[in-house]
């Protein structure tokens, strides 16, 4: 049924729940978006197909990309070493190209917990996680994470032992980070696909931990 509204539980192509219908009055900034896009087409700078392709490319980037990288790093010591040495190259090899940016993998261990933030704006490892969630771009997260990471973590329900070192990595326009969460116990015999299902978006930002099986 085309007007059946029971579809709110379904996920969009980018793996997010659909938003409510977007049929509010046309805003000034929406008008500008349409105008800019049409002018770029009229001036021969882009085409409608190029815009649609770019949206499709971005929609295809979801935290499942990052989860595959983490699961492989947990399972394959050689890949783990390559990822820690040069994460841009190691993720490019899996088809998740970060382009000219530098990507650094930081690994959580029994002693150390890593978190990522962009205090200046919203820089994020888009090739592995897709577009950043709203809270990542908020004043509160940007301001407080470098000042009081443990209280920020507590708001996400993560409490770490007192003697765990917390390292916060501030991303820049040219340099991004990805957190390799600690591999949960009891996963020794799991396949890469099973492991990937334990790796959440927040565990790769450092505001969460991997799920336990």
């Amino acid at each position: 049924m085309p007007h059946d509204h029971h579809d709110h539980d379904h996920l969009s192509p980018s793996g997010h729940p659909y938003r409510a219908d977007d049929d509010t009055d046309l805003s000034y900034w929406q008008t500008m978006e349409i105008a800019v896009r049409e002018l770029l087409v009229e001036k021969g700078i882009t085409t409608p197909a190029e815009v649609a392709d770019q949206i499709e490319t971005m929609d295809a980037r979801t935290p499942s990309n990052g989860a595959k990288v983490v699961a492989r790093a947990w399972s394959d010591p050689e890949y783990h070493a390559a990822l820690m040495k040069d994460a841009s190259a190691a993720t490019r090899e899996m088809g998740f190209d970060i382009g000219p940016l530098k990507l650094i993998a930081v690994e959580n261990t029994d002693d150390t917990h890593n978190m990522i933030v962009c205090t200046l704006c919203s820089c994020y490892p888009r090739n592995l996680l897709g577009l950043p969630p709203d809270w990542y771009k908020s004043r509160a997260y940007r301001s407080r994470t470098v000042r009081e990471p443990r209280s920020v973590l507590a708001e996400f329900g993560v409490t770490l032992p007192e003697n765990t070192t917390v390292r916060v990595h501030d991303s820049t326009a040219d340099m991004r980070y990805i957190v390799i969460p600690k591999r949960p116990q009891g996963t020794e015999n799991m396949s890469e696909d099973e492991l990937a299902a334990l790796v959440t978006r927040d565990s790769m930002i450092g505001t969460g931990v991997a799920k336990t099986p």
Binding site: S12, S14, H16, P17, Y18, R19, D22, D23, T24, D25, L26, S27, W29, Q30, T31, M32, E33, I34, A35, V36, R37, E38, L39, L40, K43, I45, T46, P48, V51, Q54, I55, M58, D59, V117, T119, L120, C121, S122, L131, P133, D134, W135, K137, S138, R139, A140, Y141, R142, S143, R144, T145, V146, R147, V152, E155, F156, D170, A173, R201, T207
Partner: protein, 120 residues
């Protein structure tokens, strides 16, 4: 907000400031998808920079010059389209007159985003 101890520090350099709770990370739909118009803004940023009209630094410069008031009052992708537009005009992609004419034409098409972007 000027930092009296470091007047060169601008408003967007907010790391280390105090602030309220992290917003909405548990709210239903926190993990929402973006609207089509927002995805198009994101695509225009990638395309505009891929074609050499501006860099991420150019995008950031305009966002930062818009000031704290814009950060509080406009949404993320509203700020982005404003910056992309400014950068494209500076880069010579089109003129302010082209933009004014096109925006008038677009807003005359209808009341909603769907009506106004129909056929494009």
């Amino acid at each position: 907000m000027l930092d009296p101890k470091n007047p060169a520090r601008r408003w967007h350099d907010m790391g280390g400031d105090t602030a309220g709770p992290i917003p909405d990370m548990d709210a239903p739909g926190e993990d929402h998808d973006f609207s089509l118009w927002e995805k198009r803004v994101d695509a225009l940023m990638i395309i505009g920079s891929a074609k050499g009209y501006f860099t991420v630094d150019g995008l950031r410069r305009v966002l930062e010059d818009m000031g704290e008031d814009a950060f509080e009052k406009m949404t993320y992708y509203e700020r982005w389209i404003a910056s992309i537009n400014q950068n494209l005009i500076e880069g010579g992609a089109y003129t302010t007159a082209d933009l004014a004419e096109k925006m008038a034409e677009v807003s005359a098409r209808g009341k909603t985003y769907g009506d106004a972007s129909a056929g494009s």
